[in-house]
């Protein structure tokens, strides 16, 4: 079952944690960030955003489109931004509350543009992703209990010229999971449509659609120190409608940020805080969270690396910063890889980039299913990552040293020799053990009898099984029909 909000062992007496960046580090980062926001400022070409910044007390140069944000405004914003943000699910029991503090949850990646397709022999090929791929991916994310949310992972590219691809993606998401999700490619002009679709899900109940928004959004500043108009508009509109919005900087150290990780941590902090401040100016109390897909630009290869240890450190640092600010970290990159296929490279890079931010207590770590720096999604990788996540959750538990867990009674009773297998305490606690579904822990003989499958092939079979046996839809048939009809209408208008 869904086990959300597992704490890393920070500020807790139990569990495993990684206390990187101490209080004085965090304070210094914060102080210099304020310096950057006050003296360098942030550029946006959006006149509405500039006006909002100006009215709130920023020094705005309307010609250069630069807003200089004073420290007290950022402070006000951080105080009024909620420390808890609820991501509503169609199945209320699956609502996820992101809490500031070291509480770790997991999300798949969004939004890839290619699908790595496997056949029964483990052969694979990559191709443009489609609506059908998205539906499959949603089904799998809904099934995998490692994921607390089921973000759409992949673009419905078969619709880009034929209709409103964004609405198709939202519709497929609504119809194929009862978990919460964040839509990775919102259009600022699409908000009314997204709202209409949520309303359809709630049987026309406008009040509910407003109170329990189903289509959460994200937006990205442009590093260094810019926010494009689509992005400011997403923040403003989401804030006014109280829709959870995560501001994700995708700064690249050495490219769009300073080469030092510390420097890039700082610029991306300024970018995200500028976005969060804008949200709070637009509407005090708006549910906005801190996000990051900040990494390095590999300067030897000219690529945005998604599997680098530097990314793991940056994501962990971002988790610590958002704890310092008392707002949830609503997306930190983790469980990422640069590999093109689910192989050894993917395994290690995902383990590393997932584990480090988890130990630092990032509230939502996104990356499941991702390959190739986020270009490609593999359904098999989703299932494999579910195992990776499951094991990291076990790591986070750490050890709880109590007298009862030290088990002196048991040790005395079994004494020398013998075994603990049949003890009542063993039966009672055996579900504490990690239990991967794909990674093979059998002896070679059983493994061979099972077909000597590697992880990717085993995952492929699991994918087929899930797609055949799991029905993720939480909506009535009529509601699904209404959603389809709504999107079809918008497609028609789009083509006109």
């Amino acid at each position: 079952m869904l086990r959300a909000n597992i704490p890393a062992g920070l500020e807790h007496i139990e569990g495993l944690g990684l206390e990187m960046l101490n209080k004085s580090d965090l304070k210094l980062i914060n102080e210099i960030t304020m310096d950057v926001l006050e003296n360098v400022g942030i550029e946006t070409k959006d006149p509405e955003a500039l006006q909002l910044y100006a009215d709130a007390g920023c020094e705005v140069d309307f010609e250069k489109c630069v807003a200089k944000i004073p420290e007290y405004l950022v402070g006000d914003a951080l105080r009024s931004a909620p420390g808890r943000v609820r991501l509503a699910a169609i199945d209320k029991k699956k609502n996820l509350v992101l809490r500031s503090g070291p509480y770790v949850n997991w999300a798949p990646f969004g939004v890839g543009i290619q699908c790595l397709e496997f056949d029964a022999n483990g052969k694979h090929k990559v191709r443009a992703s489609t609506e059908a791929d998205l539906k499959k991916s949603m089904t799998i994310c809904d099934w995998c209990d490692g994921f607390s949310v089921a973000d759409p992972t992949i673009a419905a590219r078969d619709w880009t010229e034929k209709g409103r691809a964004d609405l198709h993606e939202v519709q497929i998401a609504l119809c194929n999971t009862t978990k919460p999700f964040t839509f990775g490619e919102p259009e600022s002009d699409g908000f009314d449509d997204y709202f209409e679709m949520a309303k359809i899900v709630y049987g026309g109940d406008e009040e509910l659609a407003r109170k329990r928004p189903l289509i959460n959004v994200c937006n990205c500043p442009t590093s260094p120190l810019q926010i494009c108009e689509n992005s400011t508009q997403i923040t403003i509109k989401a804030a006014r409608r109280m829709i959870p919005d995560v501001v994700i900087s995708m700064s690249m150290a050495g490219g769009t940020g300073p080469i030092t990780l510390e420097g890039t941590l700082l610029t991306q902090n300024a970018e995200v805080l500028a976005g969060i401040t804008l949200a709070q100016i637009a509407n005090k109390g708006a549910p906005v969270t801190y996000g990051s897909a900040t990494t390095i630009m590999d300067l030897r290869r000219g690529t945005a690396s998604g599997g680098a240890p530097e990314m793991a450190l940056l994501s962990a640092a971002v988790a610590r910063l958002s704890q310092f600010y008392g707002i949830p970290c609503g997306d930190a990159a983790g469980c990422w890889t640069d590999s093109k296929v689910p192989d050894a490279q993917a395994g290690f890079e995902k383990g590393m980039t997932g584990m480090i931010p988890a130990l630092a207590g990032a509230n939502l770590i996104f990356g499941g299913g991702l390959l190739e720096m986020g270009q490609t999604i593999s359904l098999e990788q989703l299932v494999i990552d579910n195992d990776v996540i499951g094991m990291i959750k076990n790591l986070l538990k750490g050890m709880h040293v109590t007298e009862s867990r030290l088990s002196l009674d048991e040790i005395e009773e079994v004494g020398i020799g013998g075994h603990f297998i049949s003890r009542a305490s063993t039966r009672k606690n055996m579900n504490e053990q990690s239990n991967p579904l794909i990674f093979d822990r059998n002896m070679r003989g059983s493994w061979e009898r099972n077909g000597a499958k590697d992880a990717a092939l085993a995952a492929h079979e699991k994918v087929e099984w899930i797609l055949e046996n799991h029905n993720p839809c939480g909506l009535d048939r009529d509601v699904v029909k209404d959603l389809e009809a709504f999107v079809a209408r918008r497609d028609k208008e789009f083509l006109k």
């Binding site: 543009i113 290619q114 443009a128 673009a155 590219r157 880009t160 010229e161 691809a165 490619e185 442009t222 494009c228 690249m252 050495g254 490219g255 769009t256 630009m297 300067l299 030897r300 000219g302 270009q375």
Partner: protein, 216 residues
């Protein structure tokens, strides 16, 4: 060494040292001595840049070096430009490229790298920036008469604008006079074939090689 040789040597070294100030200084000195700007560019700046480019291809230098060298070169050339125009000298170029990130798309880093590398390779590059309206591509193609019109698209939602670019170049009646080049992560050779673009390149080196082959 004559004064001229010394200045040209200095121009060369400014590039090899990635030193904008030195490049400007060398350019100013050349102007003071009445040396042909073109000669300073070709024997000094470009010669050094070719060396850097070669090192890059061999994998001995990397993007940070190449871009810094090209910025130093641009700084030097900017100083020489007015005098060059006065003398109506023109530096040799392999051809002209109009490049931009396509409408709706603000992913600019990849495009900037491609633009710089084309410049370094000897193309005259007119960089229109990011989120460039199709009509601006077309107008620029009419105005600058480039050999290549290059567009970058990083998103599936914006790459479809490359189709419109093909169409509007046709409508303007200039598609026959330019070659089109497309790139950016979602683009592929298949995509280029499908929309009728002349060149697809996966990265900056590939773009340079293919652009060179085209004008050869």
């Amino acid at each position: 060494m004559t004064v001229k040789d010394e200045i040209i040597e200095k121009a060369k070294n400014s590039i090899l040292d990635f030193d904008e100030d030195m490049a400007e200084k060398a350019a100013h000195e050349a102007l003071k001595e009445g040396i042909s700007p073109l000669e300073v560019i070709e024997k000094g700046f470009t010669a050094a840049m070719e060396f850097i480019g070669g090192q890059f291809e061999k994998g001995e230098l990397f993007l940070p070096h190449v871009l810094a060298a090209s910025e130093a070169m641009n700084a030097g050339i900017a100083v020489l430009k007015p005098e060059m125009e006065k003398r109506s000298e023109e530096s040799k170029s392999l051809g002209k490229v109009v490049i931009g990130t396509i409408e709706g798309d603000i992913h600019s880093i990849g495009k900037e790298i491609v633009a710089s590398m084309l410049g370094i390779a000897g193309f005259k590059v007119i960089d229109l920036g990011k989120d460039v309206a199709i009509s601006r591509f077309v107008e620029s193609a009419q105005k600058f008469k480039p050999d290549i019109v290059a567009s970058s698209a990083l998103m599936t939602t914006t790459m479809v604008c490359q189709v419109q670019l093909e169409e509007q170049l046709k409508e303007a009646g200039i598609r026959g006079q330019v070659k089109t080049m497309v790139g950016g992560a979602p683009c592929t050779q298949k995509w280029a074939d499908q929309i009728g673009a002349d060149i697809y390149a996966e990265n900056a080196n590939d773009a340079v090689a293919k652009a060179k082959a085209l004008v050869a």
